[in-house]
Symmetry: C3
Subunit: 210 residues, 3 copies
């Protein structure tokens, strides 16, 4: 079942990986002992490290980095440029039960709407060991701190930490901390300018580099 041939001349699949789809974008790499289910589509130039699992119905954009030990479930969308640190836990069900056992106990089968979608937006990073509760949206270029348990939406460029995760700062596209003052911020590392808007931070119009 382990597929060691390349789907495309640019695609790399480790010989121990189990890849059951041919829809991998150019330049994408799948590493050791990872398992990509049938029907999955993964974008271009992604890197999926060891011991990962991607389920049919997950959405993985381009230039996404998925570190070791991750599971990307049906209902989870990782937009372009997302970084998922090691051992992150996504969830997709608010009322998890062992389904077959519920039926034995006389409960109705779960409705079709059990699945709760989660979205990680363009360029955002999820730190290692974080837990993402089903249903949240993590904004563009946000940063979820390692070990955080995210129970509600994270604004664009927001930095959250803790259990439950709370907003504790802002980060630039390049990942460095921002120190907003009087409704503005300039990244000391890369020079990108930001404005406060609706309680969040946005890149100053005209600044976006692509």
């Amino acid at each position: 079942m382990s597929v060691s041939t390349d789907v495309d001349s640019d695609v790399l699949i480790h010989p121990t990986a189990c890849v059951e789809t041919s829809e991998l974008g150019a330049g994408t790499r799948i590493w050791a002992f990872s398992h990509i289910m049938p029907g999955v589509r993964i974008g271009k130039h992604c890197n999926i490290a060891d011991h990962c699992f991607v389920e049919r119905g997950a959405v993985v954009g381009d230039h996404v980095t998925i570190k070791n030990g991750n599971m990307i479930w049906k209902g989870v969308t990782l937009e372009d440029g997302v970084f998922v640190g090691p051992n992150v836990t996504f969830t997709n069900d608010r009322f998890p039960r062992s389904e077959r056992f519920l039926r034995i106990r006389g409960h109705q089968p779960q409705e079709a709407d059990w699945l709760v979608p989660t979205r990680v937006k363009t360029g955002a990073s999820v730190g290692g060991g974080a837990v993402i509760i089903a249903g949240v949206t993590i904004g563009e270029f946000a940063l979820v701190g390692a070990g955080a348990v995210v129970t509600k939406d994270v604004p664009a460029h927001g930095l959250v930490r803790g259990n439950p995760a709370r907003l504790s700062g802002w980060v630039c596209e390049c990942g460095r901390p921002l120190a907003p003052r009087a409704g503005m911020a300039v990244c000391a590392h890369c020079g990108l300018h930001f404005l406060e808007q609706d309680g969040g931070m946005i890149v100053r119009p005209g600044e976006r580099r692509s």
Copy 2:
């Protein structure tokens, strides 16, 4: 070492799994890159997802769902109908040390009683990324929230969250929240009736469906 033949006509073992026991109950499925040790017994109609490990001395009942990336150690009992979300961490040792190194430093070998048992009772669910400290009992149909660190027992039908985990509500057999009032509760989803008893919730006598 990877075993791709079925132990039983009803049993499914993924070709990349390493299953070293033949004591799998009818209808049980073992998925990719999972490792079941010699001497393990697993009940009927269980589902053990990718990248799991089950150690000799673990007890796994019937209709148990074990999601990806889990390790079920010696000393851990999962009763019938338990749901273990992805990346849960069970532990079985209160004083973990690298054993051989301790001996080199002149310490006595660890006593036979180092192992601290953990029990997850019938129908309970453990959310993804939760950590269960050795020695706790998670009550019937309890729900451990994703990312919780459970340091003490959880009552039947209790919902716990946080690090350390604290009781923050009650859930029905079907997993939905209960809102007890005047010592009683009725599940708005499935209609099951509950009574308060000794600070916990029990299903009203005569209500049990099986």
Copy 3:
């Protein structure tokens, strides 16, 4: 790619493991579905359990126990006798982003100094499911509680818990709790004597057994 021959008569490599180095010390064992990268050096009498990953540039001493589901990154040093519980998350980057995507957005490539080293000192233990933020040092024979998120250094023999982790006690070499009084402590289990020094605990001079 799976290597089932022994590198050394004393070394054990599970047939499903992928070991790409020959620099494993005598008596070291690598278990199922683990992946050791080229160029890695691992000390003597280590035990690396299932579903682990060790990256070139990681340092692993002698008599180290690494339980299941761990990733030891470049920049992480595990000194002699360290115990790493299951599902621990190490990190090695304070500003994690999907590198290729940053370049597309017009950012400079990350400097060579992106890597932040982490050190776990002799005999220390990291409990299951803990998260270790890049850059910390965990002192000799310290104990990181299961599920803790370690954001700053841990003193020798210190016990830390929580998210973020806080010092909550002291432990002996043998792992048992110490109850210091008037600047001294004696382990009730193994009899080792300790003195307070600079706000931490040290083994009384002359007591070290090796």
